[in-house]
Symmetry: D2
Subunit: 220 residues, 4 copies
């Protein structure tokens, strides 16, 4: 195995061991990461006690610090998500609320360049649903991941949704044999791996701290 690590955060609302269609899709993707010698870890956010808030530790049994540690350790972070009412679930948004701290917390920045710890990591998105809304979720996820410091390569998402009003999901609706989804799985895996390796060898050198000083001068 190589030194690359992919973290898949499954944002299903269901705790382990309930059946998660999103997990089934993620498992297909994990198989492909393994073929490229990438280490993987998958967690379900709903298995953790994530407190409301925007700091990195809300105390009182808050288990976000455990998730944050995993994000710090990964090179590729894939947000895997269901869709509710055409929209990302609360679990996805909780990730961004808690990651908001990268803008304020010195512990989450490089001492010299003030880059967020997420710089030089790569993000992707996986979505399953039985109706509609995959593009909306992917758009929300990838934009937010970019905003908090991740790099987004092309074709960094894959999804499966059933017919409107239908009761078929990924696992019982033929998702695993859906060629469009399988194709996008492969695109995402190959592009995120290449980009993560590239950034590991050639990290972004931008010194945000120096640019901050320059911006202040410009703004007088």
């Amino acid at each position: 195995m190589s030194d690359l690590r992919a973290l898949i955060i499954n944002c299903t609302l269901k705790k382990t061991p309930e059946l998660s269609n999103t997990e089934a899709l993620a498992n297909k993707v994990i198989t492909e990461y393994h073929k490229l010698d990438v280490n993987t870890e998958m967690i379900r956010l709903a298995d953790y006690n994530i407190k409301h808030g925007t700091s990195s530790d809300e105390g009182d049994g808050d288990e976000w610090p455990q998730v944050l540690e995993k994000i710090r350790a990964c090179d590729i972070c894939i947000i895997a998500s269901p869709i509710w009412l055409g929209h990302s679930p609360s679990t996805v948004q909780q990730i961004f609320e808690r990651m908001d701290d990268v803008f304020y917390n010195k512990e989450l920045k490089d001492k010299e360049t003030r880059q967020f710890f997420t710089y030089n990591k790569v993000a992707g998105a996986l979505v399953t649903g039985n109706e509609d809304g995959a593009h909306a979720v992917v758009s929300h996820v990838l934009w937010s991941m970019h905003e908090i410091g991740f790099t987004i390569p092309p074709n960094a998402n894959s999804y499966w949704v059933g017919m409107a009003g239908g009761d078929k999901n990924y696992t019982d609706g033929g998702g695993e044999k859906h060629v469009y989804t399988n194709k996008n799985n492969l695109y995402m895996v190959h592009n995120t791996v290449y980009m993560a390796r590239l950034l590991k060898q050639h990290p972004i050198p931008t010194n945000l701290h120096e640019l901050d000083i320059m911006a202040k001068k410009m703004s007088k």
Copy 2:
């Protein structure tokens, strides 16, 4: 000057030479690109006769082919946009409607790898408004640019919006001296330039055609 080229597409609804606040913000960014030896070109989409449709040439005086040629020639593509009713203007969405052809048109793909011509190009977003909606526009722009093949580095956007219900715009509302906007301008310029150079030296090798064949096998 280096061989890097940045194209800024100003999506204001106003034709040249009407005052465009978005252009004023873009000009600040252009100055920074020049400091990093990047060639720039700025166009206003509203100056072109862009026909409704989703092909690369709708005929009948359609001037999209001229814009498309510029996108093909650039390394960095910045979509600069106003906000209308909290949303991207029709001009922004016209770009994505016309670029939809990258999914179907062989002329817009690499012969061997079937990569879209946008692979190894970098995207960013600039937004001005007098009320609200910058994040919504950036989210729409960056996600769509990713979807059609561009790479999105971190901090690849900058914006200025005035107070709700106000009548102040970027040029008369102090936008040029707004430190937050100036800071993000610099982050965006430095990160897009680094990423464009990196991808020029180390282009993404993913062979989409081979992955398509693999996906078909998996889906039987």
Copy 3:
């Protein structure tokens, strides 16, 4: 026939007489409006020369004034739309850009109450696509229609989308026999008709002008 009028604005990018799947869905809905004695008119926005801008007449052959006249005359306004890249097409956003004038133009407001001319009219949304994005389009349309003065009753939308990556559209994908879509068509027609009749008999009396004066006093 009653005195109620429903206007359906088909926002397909294709001009008449090209096949429009959105029109096929709209025709089903029109049949139901007729059963409830509602007069209907359907237009394609792409058949009109709509200039870029935010005023009610951009001159130079601008045909928006003809569309505006139809909106003024209707009681129910249904925006019927395809989806491009998971998003509303430029044609839909053009409607909201041009309607932005209701916030500024006295000709578009009631002399006494300053209500926008859209007050006491009812809106709905219809969407077709071959992939994903219906909720995103409906959300954009209904929120914007509300923002410019329309009332939105419950279940005021209906849609059909095919499978991701598929090549099936409403007309060749069985849309006309899709029970979920047909059910929502009926809900939308019945609720918009009831609400339009109710508002015709009991128009909203809110005097925006008086509230403006009150707000100014409160804000000192």
Copy 4:
């Protein structure tokens, strides 16, 4: 006092008694409801233990049933929300996840007409933030409220956001004296009250059950 009841659900991430800017805005609105003889109740969702899920009672100490009871009892439901990363917070989305049950649970529908219990109730949205994203949150909230059965009158939202990158919030940024926000507060209060009274006197008669049967026939 009249028999009309307005419920304001404050979706701040902070528990009572932490300062909530959203609450400060909501208090202004509550004063106006009282002037129109409307009873009001305000709750903070973060004070309740809302379990992940999409049913009406997830058990294990789930306190959603208490919130649901309040929604059932109200005539006007206002979602008051902060903005995080340009987006609605997880708390807002939790409401829609839990309300998803109206589509499936007979207890949440009228026995005869199968209307959701939310029919004939009216919705509105209030937003505060220190940057940008109000329109995105309002759009998400009002569309979702409509989708689950509420009616949306015109001008049913109000917001205040500070300057980008600023550290000023509603309470210390002059929000209470911002004329645009105060004006929209009044529009929202007057329109929601009128619409709620109108629907109480003239409830929507649509029989969804009969339309379901009709739709099935049409779809054969």
